[in-house]
């Protein structure tokens, strides 16, 4: 089996329409490692991920996965590359019309010659990995947000991808479940040769499992390197991000008085007998 491919972004600018969201990124994501992309909310992490997955055309620059320029690869060759990638979207993006088991089985049914019983074995195994084997027959709208996310992860893993992308896998999960997910990712890294790219806000999980960290902010890439290097950084923005400190303010901001009860349409003080 080929070694897990690395991902290289060369002077990449991503955005929608003509407005850039993150500009001029030169990032080298190492193969076979866990890379975490962190940054404030709305700074373009999901946008970057979608561009790497070739869902949108970048404004400038190029993306290489395992040495292939994804935007100049021919149709069939790119499909091979795509079938080796798995992705978990921020909201799971399960197909609403299919039960959980069929959602997870979908890539296998479309891309392999496996028999139905083999497919069901694989599906059961992957759902067990994320702790959802009891929910196989439910529809996506019957699941909680965290469950949908885990189901999305099971679907991303079902083809045994060489490159795995996860958009905020732990947001919406309880701390135990998040820790378990980190554990699962680590186990998989030990078991398979794969490159994992995780977008996260979860600094604890970054410190436990990341091999390589990319920090986005301010419309550009602020830092890339190992966790140790990041902890040693002196930059003010990075420090406040790492120490979870809100910026200091000189002026108080809670300046509005509360709403006068007399302005409420329903006279609650009288109705509830509170004189």
């Amino acid at each position: 089996m080929a070694t897990a491919p690395g991902i290289r972004l060369e002077s990449l600018t991503v955005g929608y329409g003509k407005t850039p969201v993150v500009s001029d990124m030169d990032i080298e994501i190492p193969g076979g490692k866990i890379t975490m992309i962190v940054g404030g909310s709305g700074c373009g992490k999901s946008t970057l991920l979608k561009h790497i997955l070739r869902l949108h055309q970048p404004l400038r620059g190029s993306i290489f996965i395992g040495g292939h320029d994804v935007f100049s690869l021919s149709g069939k060759a790119f499909r091979c590359l795509r079938q080796r990638m798995g992705a978990l979207f921020q909201d799971g993006a399960l197909l609403g019309s299919l039960r959980l088991r069929d959602n997870v089985a979908l890539p296998l049914r479309e891309h392999t010659r496996l028999r139905e019983s083999q497919i069901m074995d694989i599906v059961h195994h992957k759902l067990e990995l994320v702790g959802l084997e009891h929910a196989m027959d439910l529809f996506p709208h019957e699941l909680s947000g965290g469950m949908r996310k885990r189901a999305g992860l099971a679907r991303a893993l079902v083809m045994d991808p060489q490159v795995l992308f996860c958009d905020e896998p732990t947001s919406g999960l309880d701390p135990v479940m998040s820790a378990e997910l980190d554990q699962l990712l680590l186990e998989m890294m030990g078991h398979f040769d794969m490159t994992t790219v995780v977008v996260t806000h979860d600094l604890a999980s970054m410190r436990t499992i990341a091999d390589y960290v990319v920090v986005l902010g301010d419309g550009r890439c602020l830092f890339q390197g190992s966790v140790e290097d990041l902890e040693a950084q002196e930059d003010e923005y990075l420090r406040s991000f790492l120490d979870r400190e809100a910026p200091e303010r000189d002026t108080p901001r809670l300046t509005m008085p509360p709403i006068d009860p007399g302005m409420m349409k329903l006279n609650c003080t009288q109705l509830l007998g509170e004189e």
């Binding site: 795509r82 993006a93 399960l94 479309e110």
Partner: protein, 267 residues
């Protein structure tokens, strides 16, 4: 753009840009249609998806089509009877009902009814899948959304529209018999004889060609509007509702326009 906006040129400017936008959309829809129709016969996996769509688009519409057909036929039987009997030609009731149904009313009304029942649902379904990233998810799983989503609907429309049109014809001609013969007292034998004798193969064929054309047009417009709902001015739930409205309106206008063109070409 800083065009020379001379007062009297403004209407021409507007007309030109409307025409350009129309042509652009026409081109995009044609490409969309060709892109989906090449997957219609792509293997057994497609077949089972198409069958499910035929159930939704075709089978579940049978009762509505029956109702519409019955009342259309009954009204037609009544109106034609009054009109024809006033100059003693009520023997031609069967001819009138059969020809108006088979050539015009059945294909058009079936298509408009199916636009409302199934077309709007297709737009909404695909639009919701677009805004909730389900289409993106299909794409990154290397499942072509055209093949997975659009092609089965196209196949189902192409199969369902003609069959439901035939069904509409049947019920409507029976409806005409119900009012014209049973209620108002035209001669039953003459009615059925006229129905049979006045319909030529060209009429039946023309009706079916219309039904096929409407199937392709309605399905293309409705799926296209849903598929590109994110490119509208408004995104999110409101965008989907706008897409659905626009799909239904466009489909109905296009059905009537195409009906005129096909009628003038076919007969």
């Amino acid at each position: 753009m800083s065009q020379a906006t001379g007062g009297f040129l403004t209407p021409f400017n507007a007309l030109g840009s409307v025409a350009l936008r129309f042509l652009e959309e026409l081109g995009a829809m044609s490409i969309f249609f060709l892109d989906s129709v090449r997957f219609v016969f792509a293997g057994w996996g497609q077949f089972s998806k198409s069958v499910r769509q035929i159930y939704f688009i075709g089978v579940q519409s049978v009762s509505v089509i029956a109702l519409i057909g019955l009342f259309t036929g009954m009204v037609m039987g009544m109106q034609l009877y009054f009109a024809l009997s006033s100059f003693g030609a009520d023997g031609f009731l069967g001819t009138g009902v059969a020809l108006s149904m088979v050539r015009e009313l059945a294909p058009v009304l079936t298509a408009i009814m199916l636009t409302g029942r199934a077309g709007s649902a297709m737009t909404a379904e695909i639009g919701v899948m677009r805004i909730s990233e389900q289409i993106d998810a299909l794409t990154i799983m290397d499942i072509n959304p055209m093949r997975y989503l659009v092609a089965p609907k196209m196949a189902a429309c192409i199969i369902s529209f003609p069959i439901l049109t035939a069904f509409f014809n049947l019920i409507a001609i029976a409806g005409g018999w119900l009012t014209g013969v049973r209620l108002l007292g035209a001669n039953a034998g003459v009615y059925w004889y006229r129905v049979q004798a006045s319909l030529s193969w060209a009429d039946i064929e023309g009706g079916f060609i219309k039904a096929l054309a409407f199937a392709v047009l309605v399905c293309t417009i409705c799926c296209y509007e849903g598929y590109f709902t994110h490119l509208r001015g408004r995104v999110g739930p409101e965008g989907v509702s706008q897409s659905t409205t626009s799909a239904v309106v466009k489909s109905c206008v296009v059905i009537l326009a195409a009906d005129y063109i096909l009628t003038s070409l076919l007969w």
